[in-house]
């Protein structure tokens, strides 16, 4: 933890402040949300690392998808993700967003979250322990430090791919594209 190193703060203040002030939208999609209250309250106090829950997507820079993603929730997830200000990071929490988990043959959940929005990191497990979230945060710090947490840049560059996947699954989307998709077929 290099939060108190003044030389690093002077060299790259943007990166350091992104690391040590993570405002989180805990998106309550499934059972994973039950592991969040212990993390942000007295037992595993995540606020000492600067991780704090916020109420609005506009205030956030970390998006945590906790649990299985049904088709209906996916719409809300995409809209929430597009509303967050850049730079923004996404962490999939639990087995279900990674590969479907125990819902792998369900007709109503998706199997791979990273086909629809870019995901910077995963926390595997069913359920992961609260410690796993804190370890996930430290891994995210490493990714930000090395410049590897660039999911938002990927979303902007490969928006056509993501939008195609979204429309293939959900039909015609009721909102405008966030970025140019590169073709004028509309």
């Amino acid at each position: 933890m290099d939060r108190n190193k003044i030389s690093k703060w002077l060299k790259e203040p943007g990166k350091m402040s992104q690391k040590y002030s993570l405002s989180v939208v805990y998106f309550c999609t499934g059972c994973g949300i039950i592991e969040i209250p212990p993390v942000i309250t007295a037992r595993w106090d995540a606020e000492r690392f600067g991780v704090i829950p916020v109420a609005s997507a506009r205030h956030a820079n970390l998006f945590m998808v906790t649990g299985y993603v049904s088709l209906k929730t996916l719409k809300a997830i995409i809209r929430t993700y597009e509303q967050m200000p850049e730079p923004k990071y996404v962490v999939g929490f639990g087995s279900c967003p990674i590969n479907g988990g125990m819902y792998w043959d369900s007709y109503n959940t998706i199997k791979h979250l990273d086909k629809y929005i870019p995901v910077d990191g995963w926390i595997a497990g069913c359920m992961p322990r609260p410690e796993a979230i804190i370890i996930g945060v430290t891994h995210l710090w490493t990714l930000i430090d090395k410049g590897m947490a660039k999911g938002y840049v990927k979303y902007r560059k490969k928006y056509k791919y993501f939008r195609q996947n979204q429309e293939k699954l959900l039909g015609k989307l009721p909102w405008q594209p966030a970025f140019s998709t590169g073709d004028n077929n509309e």
């Binding site: 203040p13 402040s17 040590y20 002030s21 106090d45 000492r48 600067g50 109420a55 509303q83 730079p87």
Partner: protein, 296 residues
């Protein structure tokens, strides 16, 4: 002229900004310790501020951009009227009377800005904030009136001079007004029994729900200045000001008591808040004026 600009304008505004943000950090730390948590570092609001300036916010229109600047400008002008440890840029003009008008500019600017974002949560938040400000301005005007009756002046500097050598207004016939000011202080600062305007669990932080990136940073600056204004008003008017260290210690003590109240009380509904504000603090302030008319 240079001395006035450098010393009397820049020093109070800059120190108000730094003191406000530091107090917000101490606030988060003390609340965490009361919850038996370790809590964030005291400099966490500064880290947040740098982060917010690095993010790319969304604008919702011209008024959305300018309203927040109007709010900050109103706060800065108010700070120039309030003496900061002997430094006061606008001591010759207006005093308490002008202050009464200036204090409403900051909430109005926020209301304009948040109203432009056209989010229902923001509308509910700003309506609650303005109703709450009506609630605490009635006792506040009565308190200011009693001060002006007692000291026969509208100047801040003369009021502070009259309180030298521990002749604090809190221990004079003005003590009822002082208690009344302390009772409305949580409503002014937006602390827990009266944080209906920015309730994150009910209305997604109220008026600031659509603020992202730089706009949120500007809101945090405004919040810090707001905190400084109301705390320093209490210290100047009732606890006798003092040099810079005494001034800071007095502000800190008042703020710590406010944090304790914040951490143990649940949130009041807006109608309960208005019922409280227009009953006990207003009654005490009225009694204070009567007391001064008798003793003077």
């Amino acid at each position: 002229m240079v001395r006035i600009i450098l010393l009397d304008v820049i020093v109070p505004v800059l120190s108000a900004f730094i003191i406000g943000l530091l107090f917000l950090g101490i606030f988060r730390k003390v609340v965490a310790r009361i919850h038996w948590r370790y809590g964030p570092p005291v400099l966490q609001p500064f880290i947040d501020l740098i982060k917010f300036f690095g993010q790319k916010g969304f604008s919702h229109g011209f008024i959305f951009d300018t309203g927040i600047f109007l709010s900050i400008a109103g706060s800065i002008v108010t700070i120039l009227f309030i003496p900061f440890a002997g430094l006061c840029a606008l001591k010759g003009s207006g005093g308490l009377l002008v202050l009464l008008y200036l204090l409403i500019i900051a909430p109005l600017g926020m209301a304009l800005s948040a109203g432009e974002s056209a989010n229902p949560n923001a509308s509910i938040g700003i309506s609650r904030k303005l109703i709450l400000s009506i609630g605490y301005e009635v006792p506040f005007v009565l308190i200011i009136l009693s001060l002006m009756f007692y000291y026969k002046t509208i100047s801040f500097v003369e009021i502070i001079d009259a309180q030298k050598n521990f002749h604090w207004a809190l221990f004079s016939p003005l003590f009822l007004s002082g208690i009344s000011y302390f009772l409305i202080l949580p409503a002014m600062l937006g602390l827990r029994p009266f944080d209906v305007a920015s309730a994150p669990q009910e209305i997604s932080s109220g008026g600031i729900v659509e603020y992202g990136g730089q706009y949120l940073a500007l809101f945090h600056i405004e919040h810090a200045l707001h905190l400084y204004i109301y705390l320093s008003l209490f210290v100047n008017l009732f606890l006798g000001g003092g040099n810079i260290f005494v001034f800071l210690i007095k502000m800190f003590v008042v703020f710590i008591i406010g944090i304790f109240i914040h951490s143990v009380f649940p949130r009041l509904r807006i109608d309960q808040a208005i019922k409280y504000l227009w009953r006990y603090p207003t009654l005490l302030a009225l009694l204070g004026i009567i007391l001064i008319l008798i003793f003077k």
